[in-house]
């Protein structure tokens, strides 16, 4: 691979293009906030453009890794570390989600972030590099670098631009996530030593990890991913981080960072430890279902809108986990689609909450009421987003959740319809807390004086939300292009797990 090919590889470009924005911003005077905002927006939009180009080059019929970059990186004294990027049906949608949400988040900060804009944008673009890198890297060492690196910019985003309790939330976020990742690091080291390589496809192909060791490795990786998802009972960092984070931070946190956890289960646990996955699937499903119901119930108890949305993530990601560990075609496809849906819907919900917070500087639901009359456009758009998050048929959430339930229902691994049945209760509960929230904010009389003078959405805010709304309808009405992208890879994964698990069974 010559240098130009390397440079122009779509995966390299999509991962590192935001760094161009970083470099330019470094040389701009910090007083010139608007220029900095524009550069960040342009850099991230161009990155999105590159990811679309990558989509054009992507062949959905091919289940294997595409556009691979694989060059030796650190190969000395028994280390076999490569710079190894590749994309397949498991990761392509998540990469697109990342590049799509980043410019939207940046646009949402236009008036919300007034202080230290330069640093904000620097961290934001660095964060994008880390996130895309996580979804593309296929060498465990490289993956760990990106994975751990995302902590740093997010830590600053929460800690500097967050709410009143931001320092506590930022440190909690950092330590909690690091606690999981260091266990994964040990597992990575163990794998690297015993397999002689850190390359994920090679480890899968070798397929020689004995069953009981798989169990330990699975748990070590799961520690990192379950905290990130977050799965009940490891979720307690999430409400703090979300509530304190600035709006754009929450959007990215919910939209993309949490998906790094679910993606990790998909790419590493399911692929590398198939036997352990099959053995532990019912346990994961139990935690997922508890998360679904617990998250929904706690959401209902919140007074702070943002906290409500935060806990709803625990519930929604429970669905994703249930789908993934149904370990069949529908379950995993539904799980992946639901990752995207959650990114879009919850991202949109956080944006909507951010808009009202910018106007009123409170998120207490009791301070609102009757906003429909004052801000009709805002109300309609919020309604759509809320319904999408609820899983109303015709909108995106429904497709994902329905497919997951189908998968869980017919799952041979879980082997009981009860998981699906209990999870279905979660859908009903979601309707309860989300409609309750909508009613508190928008319906009834306008009984607070401050609320009478609120401005409706401006053009920039509408521009921020509309792309998300397009996808809400698109996925809801015509999801097959999305399923097509992942189908081949998921089918291959499921087959591999079945073969491996069969072989491992006595």
């Amino acid at each position: 691979m010559n240098f130009l090919d390397f440079l122009l590889n779509p995966l390299n470009l999509v991962t590192f293009f935001p760094l161009v924005g970083v470099l330019v911003i470094l040389f701009i005077n910090r007083e010139n906030s608007n220029a900095i905002r524009w550069i960040a927006l342009i850099a991230s939009t161009l990155t999105f453009g590159i990811s679309l180009w990558m989509l054009v080059l992507f062949n959905p019929a091919d289940p294997d890794l595409q556009m691979v970059v694989n060059i030796p990186w650190i190969q000395v004294a028994g280390w076999e570390i490569s710079y190894f990027l590749g994309i397949d049906g498991l990761s392509i949608l998540l990469v697109l989600l990342t590049t799509f949400l980043t410019p939207i988040s940046i646009l949402s900060t236009w008036t919300a972030v007034e202080e230290r804009v330069k640093e904000f944008m620097l961290f934001f673009l660095l964060l994008e590099v880390g996130m895309v890198g996580v979804f593309l890297s296929l060498d465990l060492f490289l993956f760990y670098i990106f994975w751990e690196f995302t902590l740093v910019p997010m830590y600053f985003l929460i800690g500097i631009w967050g709410g009143p309790n931001r320092v506590y939330a930022a440190i909690k976020f950092f330590l909690y996530t690091m606690a999981g990742s260091i266990l994964m690091l040990l597992a990575i080291l163990w794998l690297g030593i015993s397999q002689g390589t850190f390359s994920v496809p090679e480890i899968i192909a070798a397929g020689v990890i004995p069953g009981d060791i798989q169990l330990w490795l699975f748990l070590a990786f799961a520690a990192a991913f379950a905290i990130k998802v977050p799965m009940w009972p490891l979720h307690s960092w999430l409400p703090d981080a979300h509530v304190e984070a600035p709006t754009a931070g929450s959007v990215i946190l919910a939209g993309v960072l949490l998906k790094m956890g679910t993606y990790g289960f998909l790419r590493f646990n399911l692929s590398m430890f198939p036997e352990a996955s099959v053995r532990l699937a019912p346990w994961i499903a139990v935690l997922a279902v508890i998360g679904i119901i617990y998250g929904a119930m706690v959401s209902y108890a919140q007074k702070d809108v943002k906290k409500l949305v935060a806990y709803s993530s625990v519930s929604h990601l429970g669905f994703v986990m249930l789908g993934l560990f149904a370990i069949n075609l529908q379950g995993i496809e539904g799980g992946i689609l639901q990752m995207i849906n959650h990114g879009i819907s919850t991202g949109a919900l956080f944006l909507v909450v951010g808009m009202i917070y910018e106007r009123r500087h409170t998120r207490d639901m009791d301070s609102f009421g009757g906003l429909w009359k004052v801000m009709p456009v805002y109300a309609v758009l919020t309604l759509i987003v809320t319904l999408s998050s609820m899983g109303l048929p015709g909108l995106n959430g429904f497709v994902g959740e329905f497919t997951i339930l189908l998968g869980a229902f017919g799952s041979k691994v879980l082997n009981t319809p009860w998981f699906a049945a209990l999870a279905a209760i979660g859908i009903i509960l979601a309707a309860v807390y989300l409609l309750y929230m909508f009613q508190k904010l928008f319906l009834g009389p306008v009984d607070k004086e401050e609320n009478r003078v609120l401005m409706d959405m401006n053009l920039r805010e509408i521009v921020t939300l509309v792309p998300l709304l397009i996808f809400i309808f698109w996925i809801g009405l015509y999801p097959s292009p999305f399923f097509n992208l992942m189908e081949a890879s998921v089918a291959k994964l499921v087959e591999n797990i079945q073969v491996a698990a069969m072989a491992g069974l006595p």
């Binding site: 004294a77 028994g78 670098i145 690196f149 163990w190 690297g192």
Partner: protein
């Protein structure tokens, strides 16, 4: 020994000879340098180290003995020599303005620095217990004086006397250990001892006692728990430029000796000593990391952090008896020492810019507002802190990765687990500096000092760039180890 033989022997250790002679000459030259022109002494000292550095680089690939096997010139020695000389240069850069500011600019400073460096180089070259003891004293005594260089400040004097008393005590352990090893084997040359053990002519029980005493003495030097008591007070009381140098230099010296002695001669004792070293390493990383949390003064925090870092390096010694692992482990230790030098100098450079006379500007709270007012310095400090924690993509991360790999490869998964868990603990106090710099308001004032800025910038960029492109350094460390212990 004829004159020609002597010359040939000296030629092999030319970098060391240059440093020592240069220091002696500088001591005289300095008498004629007027007080307000002490920059000349600093520059001359730096030139001497650059010359030695150049000579050391020309020795690449050399693998031979000198002075009847008391000294070996191999990759291991060369690696550490270059590291020591580099650290010495950085120390000069950190010192000049700082000493002027504290009004303790005296020419002996640079001479003492060079003597101490020559001790460290000798330690890297030593293959005989007597030479090791000689090197230990040569590196330590100038450091005792340097620690007290800010006299008549009581803290500095206290640091010097404490360091001296405990250091002398530790030297006593080493020399007693050497005597007992001699008693057990009738030899002082490391290779001879090894061959004696092979031949079965050595009293192993007595040898173990000697080895234990040597371990205690060197444990003092590298600040391993429970021999670390002096560290926080000395680090805090000594002038910061001295502390910055001492933290790296004394560790290099101590670990050079530990690695050389244990790996080349005491492999037979591994059954017992692996457990002892395991305990030492665990105690050191746990105590260092946990006590650092309680510190309010940045110098004390960095002192405990350096104890913890010593613990990490000690981890590499745990599997020292396993022939298939030890190569990697020693290479990992060398690499970690190098990484540690980078992070240490980045952090201390920032500390020095903020330090004011009479120990002001050293509380961690004094860093509040740095991120806004001095974004570049704050960024460098952040990089150093993240690297200490082991967050990628930094040198510190690669270093820990390499270390833990060797440890797991040796079968000590539990030790690696303790290592990563304490890294998590350390994140808390390292991040506290970051929190103060970026998330609390404040109006710090730093001293403008171009050499210190340069050090900070080079170290900070090095941590990231070398963290990403670590292959050349890893190869270097691996080759250095191969040439010495294959």
């Amino acid at each position: 020994m004829t004159l020609a033989e002597l010359a040939a022997n000296l030629a092999k250790i030319l970098p060391l000879v240059v440093v020592i002679l240069w220091a002696c000459v500088l001591l005289l030259v300095d008498l004629f340098v007027p007080k307000e022109r002490k920059a000349w002494t600093a520059i001359l000292a730096a030139v001497g180290m650059i010359v030695a550095l150049g000579l050391s680089i020309t020795q690449t690939g050399m693998n031979s003995e000198a002075f009847g096997g008391m000294i070996v010139v191999d990759g291991f020695a060369q690696f550490l020599t270059i590291l020591v000389l580099g650290s010495g240069l950085v120390a000069v850069m950190l010192s000049y303005d700082y000493l002027t500011r504290l009004d303790i600019q005296r020419g002996e400073y640079y001479v003492l620095l060079m003597f101490s460096i020559s001790g460290m180089i000798l330690m890297a070259l030593a293959a005989d217990l007597i030479v090791i003891f000689l090197a230990l004293e040569l590196l330590s005594i100038p450091l005792y004086v340097l620690a007290g260089f800010a006299r008549p400040q009581p803290a500095s004097e206290e640091a010097a006397i404490k360091y001296f008393l405990l250091g002398a005590f530790a030297s006593g352990f080493v020399v007693y250990g050497v005597a007992i090893v001699f008693g057990a084997s009738g030899q002082t040359g490391l290779n001879n001892i090894f061959q004696g053990i092979q031949g079965g002519s050595v009293d192993l029980a007595l040898l173990a006692v000697g080895a234990a005493l040597i371990l205690v003495g060197l444990g003092f030097k590298v600040a391993a728990v429970p021999f670390h008591m002096w560290t926080p007070d000395v680090y805090e009381g000594a002038p910061s430029s001295v502390t910055a140098f001492m933290a790296v230099g004394a560790k290099i010296g101590g670990f050079a000796a530990l690695l050389r002695i244990f790996v080349s001669s005491f492999g037979v004792l591994a059954v017992d000593f692996t457990a002892v070293l395991w305990g030492l390493a665990v105690l050191t990383i746990i105590l260092g990391n946990v006590v650092a949390i309680a510190q309010k003064n940045i110098k004390r925090m960095l002192a405990y952090s350096s104890i913890a870092q010593a613990g990490f390096i000690l981890m590499a010694l745990v599997p020292y008896g396993q022939e298939d692992v030890i190569g990697d482990a020693v290479a990992a230790a060398l690499f970690y020492l190098l990484a540690y030098a980078f992070m240490n100098f980045a952090a201390w450079a920032v500390v020095i810019t903020l330090e004011k006379a009479e120990g002001k500007g050293l509380a961690i709270e004094d860093y509040a507002g740095m991120g806004r007012k001095y974004p570049i310095l704050a960024a460098i400090m952040t990089i150093a802190m993240l690297s200490f924690t082991g967050v990628p993509p930094t040198l510190g991360f690669v270093g820990k990765f390499y270390l833990f790999r060797a440890v797991i490869d040796g079968g000590f998964v539990g030790l690696a687990l303790i290592g990563v868990l304490t890294s998590l603990v350390s994140a808390y106090y390292y991040l506290r500096v970051v929190v103060n710099m970026y998330m609390r308001p404040g109006e710090p004032v730093v001293q403008r000092d171009n050499w210190v800025y340069l050090t900070a910038a080079v170290a900070g960029i090095g941590i990231i760039v070398l963290g990403i492109f670590s292959l050349p350094l890893l190869t270097w460390a691996a080759k250095a180890t191969m040439s010495a212990f294959s």
